[in-house]
Symmetry: C2
């Protein structure tokens, strides 16, 4: 926890907060904080700054906070990701949040197992928890938006054209002929398939809607590894 | 498993192998292979090619293999990594192996908890298992070498100068003033600290031994995320 993410409900007046629950426990047992310690804080979707601990009890921590700095810049990237298997989902959401991604579309694809859509990890509450971990890690406050789309074709044909306006449109595809560009540093919409990749007809549908397919080398990476490697090379 | 990694012990003659254990179970229950299926195979530290299934019994699979192609190129990178916490270790070794890293030094550092060195995951057998998963993922056969060094100063002063000859020497450090170069594409030795980073005196010791410190942006990433992001930007 490199930043304590505060929400409106934590404030007892303009500049005093009370922390309980997970954050309280973490600060006491892992960070072993003491009275008068200064910690980095931020308010959800707002400024970051510092908080000085004014009181520690057995149940909560009180802090006086001063928030005056903008959070780090977001990446101008929209990530379109075939729904990964549940055990990868948490880490991927946490990782891409820590990298500064703010728009994530979890979509269906031929090779996404139907059961993946049943996981409780896809609940709003759970996804929020994973994103908070990513924000706390990277000292950010701006919560990403996650959208779930269970129909590939209707998403790609009806919604994607509007979303991808003014963006560089990239599909990551191990069998593509061209290597993915690097240092693009502009608005990008990046589509990444499931384990095993998008099937040919999905690649074609994406191409018909303006997406170019690129590989990132001969090695097949796990989706969770490829996502980080791709984002890292697109924004240098 | 994108490649079946064969060892000498699997061969019953020049071009026939018998698979049992983990690989057998995975091929039958996950890949649901059948007789005459052709699979991608490779021999440890050697060529890759294909294997055709000639027999499936309740305990083993027999294949006729033909191995004639070189495995993918390795990265000319030596990774010097402060020993990560055990639950991250497996994933990091698997990931960097899949990215093509062949030399990994796990070293001590001030912020590495002593208990991390006690984990059974550091046994030769376990590390080999994690590397095999990375090789199978990325269709590679060349096993990385992992070296464990429990004394930071003696490693950096006595061993590192020799290791880093003819290499670009980089320390990844969140507080560095310069942004890490990209597309270096040469021999690199990359040092990455533990959670919380190397302490100042460690950074100084590395700098005195020819290492330049670079950050990769304002965001603090988890070590397992940073490793992938760094390797991805260094080799475009």
């Amino acid at each position: 926890m490199n930043l304590i993410l505060l929400e409106k409900k934590d404030f007892i007046d303009r500049d005093h907060v009370i922390l309980t629950g997970r954050q309280f426990k973490h600060l006491v047992s892992v960070n072993k904080v003491e009275k008068n310690d200064e910690l980095i804080c931020g308010i959800l979707n707002g400024k970051i700054g510092t908080g000085r601990i004014t009181k520690i009890s057995s149940e909560c921590i009180e802090m006086k906070v001063h928030l005056d700095t903008d959070p780090p810049k977001s990446l101008p990237l929209t990530l379109v990701l075939a729904l990964p298997r549940p055990k990868m989902l948490k880490r991927i959401i946490e990782n891409v949040t820590s990298l500064g991604v703010k728009d994530i579309y979890l979509i269906n694809s031929w090779r996404v197992e139907k059961s993946f859509w049943q996981t409780p990890l896809l609940s709003e509450d759970n996804l929020k928890k994973f994103m908070i971990l990513g924000l706390e890690q990277s000292k950010d406050t701006r919560m990403p938006h996650i959208h779930q789309r269970r129909f590939f074709t209707s998403f790609v044909k009806k919604e994607l054209p509007q979303l991808s306006k003014d963006s560089v449109c990239i599909t990551a595809h191990p069998n593509a002929l061209k290597r993915c560009p690097s240092g693009v540093n502009k608005k990008i919409i990046l589509a990444i398939g499931p384990e095993g990749g998008f099937i040919d007809i999905e690649i074609e549908t994406l191409e018909k809607n303006g997406f170019l397919s690129y590989h990132i080398g001969q090695r097949i990476l796990k989706v969770e590894t490829a996502v980080i490697a791709l984002i890292s090379r697109l924004y240098l």
